[in-house]
């Protein structure tokens, strides 16, 4: 599936949701940071994977089914980044950008006047649109002598876009959970703070090789947002 197709699907869903505004529908915008971990065990035992921050921005459209339960769609863009580092401290930051559409059932409960607590559970589809690699790499032809006459290999800064191949699984499916606090500023305007959790159930690469270990994204996000209520 190409980017245009993904964008058009997400746009259609947003539009459908907006046009079907009946009863109470809230439309809002959330933005914040992500913190992703790639669940993968490399064959190379000298390599360490670590989690890395990124950003998230998404629309938030929820449609109340009753006083406490709503259906929520949150199309948007987010990063699922991670870092690699070997025992010689040569590292690369892998920045992966996805278009994502989570759909959840949201439960909401009033805590005190104007303040609601919400929790949501659902599934998501994401499309991997871009991957870049930044960091350092050793150059075998760039040498210098150490203080004890030993040979040192110089490293160079690298920054390049990853060329996707047939091996990459650019479509990702998974489940999601969300928890948030909403504060009603005005009758039809509220702000929120939310914590999100996304766990992929499909690997980043197709299972092509024998003994191939799968790579799964596990992403936390914290966002702040604002929403407008249509009644």
């Amino acid at each position: 599936m190409n980017i245009k197709k993904s964008l058009s699907i997400i746009a259609s869903i947003c539009l459908t949701c907006i046009l079907n505004v009946k009863a109470q529908t809230n439309i809002g915008l959330d933005a914040g940071i992500t913190y992703n971990k790639l669940r993968f065990k490399p064959v190379n035992s000298n390599l360490t994977l670590s989690s890395k921050q990124g950003y998230i921005i998404n629309l938030n459209i929820d449609h109340q089914l009753n006083k406490w339960i709503a259906v929520e769609a949150s199309p948007g863009m987010l990063q699922k980044n991670y870092s690699l580092k070997n025992t010689n401290n040569i590292y690369q930051d892998i920045n992966n950008t996805y278009l994502q559409l989570p759909i959840s059932i949201k439960f909401e409960r009033k805590l005190i006047s104007r303040l609601n607590l919400s929790a949501a559970l659902g599934g998501y589809y994401a499309y991997w649109i871009k991957s870049t690699i930044n960091g350092i790499a050793p150059n075998v032809f760039e040498l210098s002598s150490g203080s004890e006459g030993d040979e040192l290999i110089k490293v160079e800064g690298i920054k390049s876009q990853y060329p996707f191949s047939q091996r990459d699984n650019r479509s990702e499916f998974g489940w999601t959970a969300k928890i948030g606090l909403n504060y009603r500023i005005l009758n039809d305007l509220s702000c929120s703070i939310k914590g999100h959790y996304y766990r992929s159930l499909t690997g980043q690469q197709k299972q092509i090789d024998e003994l191939q270990a799968s790579r799964y994204n596990e992403t936390l996000a914290a966002t702040i947002g604002i929403a407008y209520s249509f009644k």
Binding site: Y35, N88, P138
Partner: protein
Amino acid sequence: MLATFITLFYSLLQTRINKDLISNFATKSHINKLDFETIPMNKKLRNLNPVPTLFYSIFIFLLTTILGSCKKDTTSDINETRDTFPKIFAQFWDKMNSKYVYWDRETTDWNSVYKQYKPLFDQLSNSDEDKRKAMSYFTQMTSNLIDHHLSITFLEQPLNGSVINPSLARKVKAQGYHGRYNYDYMVKPYLDNGFVSGRGNISNNGELISATSGTINNNILYFHCNFFALKQSYNSTGDNTIKQILNYFFSNLKKTGNPIKGIILDLRNNNGGNIEDLNFLAGKLVPQDHIFGYSRSKTGMGKLDYLPWLESSLKHDPDYSGTVPIMLLGDNFSASLSEIMIIALKSKANLFIGEQTYGATGPLSDPDIFNAGSFNIGTFLSVKTSSVEFKGIDGTFYEGIGITPDISSPFNLQALSAGKDLQLETAINQINKNEH
């Protein structure tokens, strides 16, 4: 969910260590990392006060049920210390899959190799006969791999010391193959009186480094060494014949009112060596820095996970003018750094004369730095393979192919037996022709 939420805020409180601290050198660079799992999830869940409502109970029940049924990672859980043949095979196959650098260019289907040979290794016991069978399987599995540095050395009895060298095995079977030839004695009669020749104290595969330098007709400067450990030899203490030979060569390069009209760099029967010799020797022969190709290693994540291509450049030594034309002599056994030196020095004025070279252009280096290259499988075998993939400035891959000479001059045993080095003579004639 609550635990993951807490983990999120905990992680956000942490800041990454300033990357400016990272040095430019691999052996000195360092970076701190965040650890996603620093807060045990179950422990934090126990510390939270549950909210006594049906709503939260249902939500937490649903979440923990799903969390509990999370899909387990599929990983190749291969223990380093296993020594049965099925495990040795699995480790070998997996490490080759991850650490071999030429999978983007290979014609060997490594997955088919797994399917074909796994059942065969599953049948092997630890008997001497089965060890020999294992060696024959390893030979077959790797017979068409293009890495010309690839070799497998067996470390256990009765195979102890046996070596599989797929590229050499193919060359021996090829039409027109000839064995190694030591041109040293053949060249000396062409050199003017006063040439210098001798051995150093550094050895490679049991052979001591040797070098020869002299002039031909008082206006052509000749240099040969049997492998590259020149800078190391130059800087070593004690009886230092190689330093004297290099000083002779370097001083002739630098002479004022230089009568030298051409240089012959004889790389025949030289199978490479220390990469630092590229700039140490060839850097004195060029007038300026220049890029001659690109190299790349791997991220370490998998079979086709590469780092970006980096420029490979030759650094000019400013103490030398580097304007004299060079004739580069090479043969079927000019390999590795010798080939890189030919690629780096070849130009319109600098011609390569002789035979197609060996085709081992991907340097060997520290696999822990490059996330690729040589590895051991327990105490059973040791694999030597390139850590880096190399291509020329125009994108040409030489691995497994070699460099084609500008002027072909095949190996001629008959002429050599008659005391005539036709390749050397072609180089001399070419320099003389250039002068006129």
